[in-house]
Structures are given as C-alpha cells and as structure tokens.
Symmetry: C4
Subunit: 380 residues, 4 copies
C-alpha cells in the first residue's frame, strides 16, 4: 500500500500507485492529485497551453456557461450512453485523445493507457509522437485504436507511417491539422521544462533526420520557412488516395473548414484547439461548436476536445452539438496517478457523472442529450 | 447569560443560547453567527451544496440581479403581508422548508423548529428524514404542519408514512422529487463530515431495511441501479389515489414539468434546486422562476426556495413570480444559535425586512409586490 | 503649519488643517486623506451606506460605465459652466447637498461649509438635522441657501421650521422624501459608532419630544408603526399651501414619481438614493437618471446626487440628463481635512475637472454636455 | 556579458545591454524586463497614463475581446506583411510612435531608436519633444522619419519647426491634436517622478520662452487660460498652407472628427488616446476604431496606437480596421533594455507574432487580415 499523502512535494521520480486512491471523488480530482505524481516542470508542460495560457483557460471557462435543467419523474430505467459513431458502435462517448510522450508521466507510457482503453471499451487515439512504438501499443489485448497522424516533411515518411498503422491494425487515421507551427508554452519555459531523454518519438526513430528549410534573405521565417512544410488541401487529397482507412480531422475551429472537410469526404471532425496548445488567443473549442454543428447538419460526426473535466462537461458538449468527446489532460493526470487503473477509473467516473446528468435531466440516451437546450442556451 | 464571543472556535458540543444574541442585526446574521454554534464538519455539511457548490453559489448570486426601485409618498398604513395560499390564509409568505436531521444542530431538533413555527404562524414542512418522529413534531401545540415525503423503494412503506402523517394531523403532503440520486458534497467530505449516531431518520426506524438493487453486469449503476427506485409519473398518480390531502411538489426547475404537474392536479409547486444539494450545475431557482410563473399563469400556487437570505430576497422572489417562499438554511442556522427563539426571531426579522422593502417601494400587499418590476427587470 | 503625515492613525480629536494639503491632486483625494482626519467609527458612519453598502457601492460603479469621447480642434475660448437652474443663475452646476451633523468632522460644522459655499457661489442645502441652528448658517455672509426639510410627525413643528427657514432668508425648500424608515449602516454599527453628545439636531431643540406611536398587537411595527408618520401626497399638498418658497424634492428614483411631482407643481427634483443610505438594494442614482429625464422632458429641472467623486462624474451625470449635481460625501471629507478652505478647494477642483472634460470633448457649455452621448452610450 | 538578473532592483543609472537578453520570449517580455533597467519613478512615468490610469488600462483590456479563429490547410507560402500606406511601400505595418524624451531610458535616446527603425525598415515618428535634435535623428543612416508636431503658442515657432523638419528630410508631418491640456499621471506623481535635467526638449531650445497667458478674474484657467493656445480648425488650415509634406493627424477618437479631417485633405489618421495619457476616462483606442473605419470607408489610411503588446494585438487592430499600427511603450521598454538592438528585436518579434497569427488563420496578406472577423466579432 502506498497512499499519496495530501501535502507531498512534487516527485522527481515517477511512482504511480497500483491502486485507486481513496481521495478521488470525481474525475477532475485526478487533475489535482496529479501534482503529487508529476515533477513540477513536467506538470507545467502538461497543464500549460501555448504562450500565456489564454486559450487553455478559455476552454475551461466556456464550460461554466449554460446550466443543465433537471427534469422530474422521468423513466430512465432503459437509459444508456451507447452511440453509433460513423458506423462504429460504442458503449459511451468518451474517447482517449492522442497525447504525445506519455512516458513523461508513467514508465510504461502509452501501453498503460491502451490497457485502460481496452478495459473501458474506449477508442484510443495513438499519437505520431508516442513514446512507445505504434505497433506495441496496438498489440495490447482488446485495444481498439486510431492512429493520430502528423504530416511529415517527407511524404514518403508520412506514407510509411500510414502503412505501418494500417498493418498494425489501427482502424482509422486521426489527422491533426492545427499544429503547423510549434508555439511554446511560457509556463513550461519558466518552469525550466525540457523533454527528458527517455521520452522520444519512437515512431519516427527510423527515419532520416529532416533538414529544416531556411528562408532566403528577406523572406519570412514563418511564411517561407516553417509554413513551407505545412499541410495544404492537396496533401489531404494525396493522403485520402493512399489509404482505405477512414480519415478524421482534428483541430477544426471554423465552420467553413468544417464544411470543406465534409465535402471532401473526411469521415468526421474533432472540434479542438489542441487543448489551448497551438494559437494562444484562439476561441474555446466549446464556443465554436454550435456554429460548426449547425454548418454540418445533425448527422455528420463531430467530436469535441479541449476543456472536458467532468461528466457534466460531456453533457454540455453533446447538448451543444458533439456526438462524442476526446479526453486529453485528464487521461495524462490519471495515468500519472495510477497507470491503467487510474485512466480506467477516470473514464468510469466521467461516464457515471454523465449518467447522473442524463438521469436527472430525463435523457434516456445521447440523442436526447443532443436535443436538450442548456439554460440559458448559448445558441439561439 | 451566555454571550457568544465573536472569535470563538467552532464548538463540538451543541450549546444553543436561550436568548437572542445582541449582535444579530438582520436575518442573515444568523448565517454568520452559526459558525460559532455548529461544529466545522457539520457546518460544511449544512452550508455546502452538492459537489463543487456551483449551484449553491448561483442561488445566492441570482438575488444580486435586479434592484428594488423605491417609491415616494405612498400610503401603506393599511399594508400587510397576508396571503391566501391555495385556500390557506397566512399572515406572511415565509414557510419553513423541510430540513432533515435537525438534531445535528440542536438537541431537541425539529421540536424547537415546530415551536417557532407555531409562534410565528408559519407553515412547517417536516422532513421524512426528521430526527424526531413526525408524530412528536405534529403534537407541538399550535403547529400547522405539512409532511415532506420522499417516495420509499417499497410502496407499502410510502403508504404507511402517508397514513401516519394524515393521522398525526399534517395538512398537506410536500412531495420532493428532485433527489433521486444522492450527490455528495465535496465540501462536507473534505471537512470529514459523517452524520452523528444520534441523528437518525426516526420516521423510518420501524420499516425493514431495503436491499439496494444491484445492476447486472454491463448495466449502469445509475440507470439500472439507483434510478430503478426513482419515482415516475405513475407513482405520482398512485400517490394521488391514496390520499385526500393536498399534494404539493418540491424541486421543480422546468416549465414543462410545472405545466404537467398542474395538469395532473397537484396543488402547488416549490421551485427549488434543493438549496444546490442535488445536481451541481443546475440553474439557480430564482433564474427559472419567471418562466415557470409564465407557464403556470398568475393564479396557480408557486413557491420558491433556495438562496433566500433577506427580506429583500423574499421581495424579489415574489416580484419574479412566487406567491411565497420556503426558508431552509437560515432556519437551521437560527436553530443552532438560539433554538425556537432563534428561528422565530429570524422569521420576524425576515418579515420586517420584507415590510421595509414593501413600505419603501409603495407596495401595500403581496399582490402589489407581484406586479412590481425589478430594475433592470430580468424578465422581459 | 501642521502637515498631515501619510501614515497617521485616525485621530480621535478633530484637528482640521488651516491650509490646503499639498498631496491633494484631485477632488477625490479628499476622500482618501479624510481617513486621517476623522475617527474610525465616524468615518464608517459617513462612508457607509445602509445595511451592506450594496447601493452605496453601486453608486460608484455606475459612473465607471460609459466613456467621454474626446473631440479635436474645438474652439472653447468662450466656454463656461454657467447655468440657469429654475430661474436661478449659477456659475457652475455644483451644489452642496444637505448633510446632517457636520460638527462630527469639524468644530464649526455647517458654518464652515457655508463659508465655502459663499466663496464658491455654490448653493448650500442646510439639513433639518444640522448641528448648527439654521439661522446661524443662513447668516454667514454671502451664502445662498436652501433649507432641507424632513416632515416632522407634528405638522405644527414642520410649519414652524418652514417659517423659520423663510424668515432666515432661505431661498427654497428641499424636501427629502426617501427616508421614511431609518435603515442602519452595518458598517457603522460594527465600527461601534454612536453619534457624539455634541452633535445634536439644533433646529429641533426647542420642540416637544414626540412619542413614537406603538402599533397594536398583531399590527406591523413598519406599516402601522413607523409608516404612520411617513409623508404622503396630501402632506405635500399641505406643504405647498404653507409657503411661497419654491419646493424641490430629493430622493426620486422612479419616473412615475418624477412625473407626478412635476404635475403637482414641484419646482425640481434631485434624483438620489441618499448616497445609498436608505433602502439598501435600491438602484444607483445614475442608473435611473436617463429614464427620469426622458419622462420629464428636456426642460424640467433635474439634479443628481449620490456617487459623484470627480468632474468627469459630473460630466457624465449631465450627459445622462442632469442639469446640476449635489455633492455630499466629498463635502464632508473636505470639511474634515481643511474646513471652509477644503470645501472651497474641493469645489474648485471638481469644477476644473469638469472644465477639462468639456474642453477635451469640445463642449462650450453645459447644454452641449447635455447633448453629448457617452461611449458606449448606456441610453438607447 | 552582462546578464540581467531576474530579481535586480530598479537601476538608478541607465545601463542598457549590448545584446539581446535570453529571457525574452515575446515582444511583451520587454515590458516586464524593463523594470530592471528603468528607475522606479521613471518607470511609473512611462507606464502610467493620466490621472488614475483608467484609459491606459482600458487600452489593454480592449485587446482581450475577440478571438482569432484558426483556419486549416491554407497555402501561405507566398504570404507577406507588405502594405502600401498612402503611397508608401512598407515591409510591415509596425511604425514607431513618437515618444518624447528618450534619453530618460537610454543615454543616446532617439538616436538608438532611429538606428533600430533603419534596420527594420520601420517608419520612425520623431517627437517635437525629442531629447535629441530633430536634425541629428534624421541623419541616422537609412532612417525614414516623420516629424511629430505639436502646435506651438507662437505660429512663427511652429513654422520654423516645420521648415527645419522639411530641411532635415522628414517625409511627413504627424500632427498630434489630443494633448491641448497636460493631465498629470497620479502614478508618476506618487512615485516622485521629476523629469531629469538631461532630458530637455532639444528642438525647442533656441526659441524664446513663452509667457503663459493668465485668465482674467472670473475667467476659467482652463477655457480662457490653457485652451486659448489650443489648436483649432483654422490652425490646421494654416498649417496645410505652409507645407507640401503630407500631414497626418494623431489622436482621433470620434468618427465625426475623422470625417472632417479626411474632408479637409489630411493624408491619414492615427486613432489614439495617447496611450491613455490625455483625458483619463476616454475610450480605448481599439474600441472606437471600427466606427472610425466605417465612417472613413475602406481606403482611407487609418492607423491605431495605444495598447499594442503583441503581434496578435496587431492582427486584431488590422482586423478591426487599421492599416497599420504605431508602437509606443514597447519601443521605450526595448530601448531601455538593449538600445537599438532591443528595439529592432522587439519589432522583429512583433512581426513574427503577427505572421504566426496570419499563417494560422490563413491570411496571406494584410488585406486578408482586414477582411477577417474576430470571434465573436465586436463589430456588427
């Protein structure tokens, strides 16, 4: 037994529990407890958004608007949280978002997360920048995984990643498009964070190093430098031609992009600002969700990530237009505290919190949640 | 004489005063003073809402919106606070809300509250979970009481409670419908609160223990577990068939529920979120009141509870659509400080505060308050 | 010379300066500096509003809304702050509000204020509850004074006050109608304030003591007690019949009252909530001003008091509909710091601050200020 | 090497670095770091606005409204920040605002700033109140400068300044019209700031001292004193007749003034409240920009200053109607930290921050930024 004392200093060495700590009352408690299980600079890196955390904080604040209005005397004995997401039957709408470098908080990293995903029948999105090889993660028994893809500067590398993912049994490609430019976290920087040696992008280990292209004199380091390698619409078309796997796109914040992606045959979207980790000053994911749902119509698959901390947050996201949500930071916090057990427990808590909201607001299924209006409704 | 020193530490042993303390200037002062008369964990349990106190705090904030606009030169020499509530003549619109386990703050618990109710001609709602038997409370001389009913898992038990209440002289059933799921208070939990041995639900003492039904594998602990015993519309119909007593429903937050309850013959409603003690994230009671009043029309009996701390709050609740209000936490605080004397004094202060608002805004009766618009009006 | 050290503790004995302190940069600085010249409990009494100071604080916050939009290249060489207020030519729109018991902060009390009023050609309103006799105040050379009247329980006393004021040369009656009920200041009470012996209502000294009427059993202490003596419309009519002096009414907060008073021949109004000292929870004076001006039309005399701390506040009050303003608390603070000199200096600073606003926004006179719209305009 | 320790006390002697400090991550970091390079009273003078800093703070807050909505898959390989500003081709929209007395923070003062302007191809506006002679500043190799003009009490002096500026090669006159009255900064005053001996208005050194005109008795020190020398429309017409240089006007906050200036042939405007240093209580520059742009039409040159701290702020200013922006305080902070190198580095950071916003929102040029709507849009 190894109880986590409430006042422990942050630990330098990772030492996750092998049991569920008694002080966890709700899913968000993993966020608070994780401070005791993650070294300070690493915690700053994980918790921080880009630059000043403006968008990271806006993500949380957005969920404070709108209330869930309880209903009385409803019959929810046959209620459930099942959904069909683009043809896939799921027991609940809680997917695990792609998170890079999970060895930062747990010695087994992504393998533990995969075990939790399998236990909870949760779709797992594995990052291109995972600290465990994509093949190892996919081989965890019972896991149902999607591969999160970043376009690589060299199309051959991108293609190889795609083929490896397909060969390893990944069921879909989750293409992240909002991170063409790496924007630093000032919070992580001030905390002195540097990625430790043992956290490497294992999936990219075998590929030749890319020489960053240098802009010519008078050219912009951004426009003619970094952005030269940023994905464009023709890259998406190329990718679609290389694979039969469904392709989802993550990082959508504008209705016009949402419409264009749907029209080009993308399987579904994740409305996301990368947890506030790309453009600091971008709107909260939840804030743009209603307009995107409206632009896409009721039936197109749309998920939300960024800012979910409770089952009520999940309820609100669905009420405002999401079919399902992806869980990022809570996943990392739970992983740090208690490995696979923690992640599974966190998902179970989130699900029950969602079920309580549904039961008390008389929603017998997620379709009913989708038709619920928050009070006062932010959409109108 | 036993004055309460201003800086006293919270007391472990209950020691209510037998006089009104000099430092009480307004009804809300009982809230502040009660910290010296209630043990810390118990205070956390009483003051706290469910989970993060979001709704409990929203209840208070809602009363900060809208101002009472003074009027000049009005004749209020014949003014009064009388009302007819569903046929019942009352001298003022301040009812005592059902509060469980009152022995937690006073050795005589509900008996003291009943004495105050009798003294102030205030309707007393006695909780199913009272720590004194319902028969004892009803036998306090001069008391006019309603019985607050929770549906029990076994209809026979519910029926027996109903018959006992009727036999003991209760005048109405106040059916609480918003608490199908017990949501814990994180504040109380963090404070280490556990209900003391001597606080028992005396009314339920004689009934067989109920075995909680266990959901089957793959079923939800919420939907197929807890909610299996939650009341449904047919339970209400069944209850109505068992008694001739008027039935009021407490816990209404949605206009559609309000309409349905009226159409089914319920005598009146209490708009309430249980003082923020059920679904954390539900709207403030006051915020949903105008829409409910509008849905019910002007004449249907509607009360409000949750958040009242002053006579001006009472004024605002009535101006926004309530016929009367129920007082919960202030009742407990006053009980803790000075027993029946405290509760009666608190009611007297509330009433005078209401009268001052009426006098200064030129309202000679509660009907005039109902027709008053707050500035700026939150309804329009 | 007796400079006020910045960190001095509050003084028990009044010791106003006989010069203008160097650290005063703007009119509001008298508010801050006065803490060093007024005993703590007295300061709490003066600064506090009724009960929780909700309205007192709202008065200040209301002035933070709306900006003054500068204009360029305007010719203001002939600009001035003159006005004609109900037939009276004034050099500036800054009147001195009635403030009771001024000996609380200065040994000579109202006599000093009168000297400042004379020096600055400011109309002085002398309180029924002045701590100097109304005759003495009126005899200060050069003073132009109005008599602030509270209706007395006995009409004979009211009439006598009226006749004394007329005989002493007061030019108008300023009838305060918003204080039928004395609402205590919790701040003053907590600070232990009691009115000192030497602060007496000198004007009422000679009249027989009034026995407060006691409500009968079952009657309300408010409605059948205090309010029995509150003024009503027929009292106003009676008063109008007793005097040829113009009658102004102070304490108007509702457009319907404003219209009724105008229709009954009252000479002008003061929109006021008594500096937040009557009904706590009433709206800010400034907030109700636009609707009252709209109800009265452009030409009826309307003043504002409550919350003025700067010349920009004066500008905003006029832009929102006031013809002039009354200065209450700043008058007391300046009196405490430096007697007549302080009050005169405070008025001079306010006037220059107003002139700066006018000059920078291109307003050559107060009529132009009245036609200015704030940005963003709170009226529309 | 001379690294700036993080906890250093403010320095009395100026000691700018001759390298770029490592801790600068973004342009705004110069603001924070500058506290270590500027004496406390001087910092208060520079950072403070007039009086209570209300407008100075509003300038910053205004930029917190509205989000930049990222776009996906855009091709920005040919993107740039070039613009044509009233016929002048510029590589970026970042101009250096006129700032007086730059020797206050750097021994070489304006000469250093001019070197940075030349290096970054940034238009430099040199203040009438520069602490280096206008001729010296203009002679810095490669500089492209405008002369900021304050009307002088004596037209002959104004004319001489104009002719000197023309002779020295200044390309335009930037006429500041919002500072007819000097409003003190209470923050600077409380900090004990006095302008040091070595900071003199060198450009005015050779002219005869002006005797301030004294208002007659009964006249206003403001209207008949200070404002007697304030510029008026005929002064503008006179000025236009004296020079062929383009004349821009700085300090516009009202659409009617903007229209009038355009109609009189002024070449362009700077929407500005002087960084909050003139009328305290004036609106934020950004807040009035949309209405001014709307009044002027799409093509008239309009710049914004006051409140810019980041490239995202620049993006927002352009999206709300500006063609370009002027940088004031950041210029001074960077000058204090590292002289010309600091100012150039600050401009480079701002430009890259702007480019990142453009790249991530899919804007290939400033015209596209102008057509972007912020989320949620403050204009509609």
């Amino acid at each position: 037994m190894n109880p986590a004392p409430k006042t422990a200093a942050p630990r330098a060495a990772l030492n996750p529990l092998n049991h569920i700590p008694a002080q966890i009352l709700c899913a968000q408690d993993y966020e608070f407890l994780a401070r005791q299980f993650i070294a300070g600079p690493s915690y700053a890196y994980i918790a921080g958004g880009s630059e000043h955390d403006i968008t990271a904080e806006a993500n949380l604040r957005a969920f404070a608007e709108g209330c869930v209005q309880p209903r009385l005397l409803c019959d929810v004995r046959d209620a459930h949280t099942r959904l069909n997401l683009a043809g896939l039957d799921l027991p609940h709408p809680l997917l695990l978002a792609p998170v890079a470098f999970q060895k930062l908080v747990h010695p087994a990293g992504e393998l533990e997360t995969a075990r939790a995903a399998a236990a909870m029948q949760s779709v797992l999105a594995v990052s291109t920048l995972a600290s465990q090889p994509l093949e190892s993660v996919a081989s965890v028994p019972g896991v149902y995984a999607w591969f999160q893809l970043y376009f690589q500067p060299d199309r051959a590398v991108t293609l190889d990643l795609l083929q490896r993912a397909s060969a390893a049994g990944y069921r879909a490609i989750l293409l992240t498009l909002d991170a063409s430019i790496q924007v630093p976290s000032f919070r992580a920087h001030r905390a002195g964070f540097v990625m430790p040696e043992h956290c490497r992008p294992e999936n990219l280990a075998g590929y030749p190093a890319v020489t960053a292209s240098q802009p010519a004199t008078g050219e912009s380091r951004i426009f003619q430098g970094v952005m030269r390698h940023a994905p464009r619409w023709d890259d998406l078309a190329w990718l679609q031609a290389q694979t039969d796997l469904p392709i989802w796109v993550k990082g959508v914040l504008h209705p016009d992009d949402a419409v264009a992606l749907r029209e080009r045959g993308v399987s579904g979207l994740v409305v996301s600002n990368h947890g506030g980790r790309t453009l600091d000053g971008a709107p909260a994911s939840l804030s743009v969700l209603p307009a995107i749902r409206k632009a896409e119509g009721d039936d197109y698959p749309v998920m939300l990530d960024s800012g979910i901390r409770s089952g009520m947050d999940v309820f609100k996201a669905i009420a405002l237009g999401a079919d399902a949500v992806m869980i990022g930071r809570l996943q990392v916090y739970a992983l740090a505290v208690a490995g696979a057990l923690g992640v599974a427990h966190m998902l179970k808590l989130l699900r029950e919190e969602l079920e309580i909201c549904m039961a008390m607001s008389g929603c017998a299924n997620l379709q009913a949640v989708r038709q619920t209006r928050l009070f006062p409704s932010p959409i109108e």
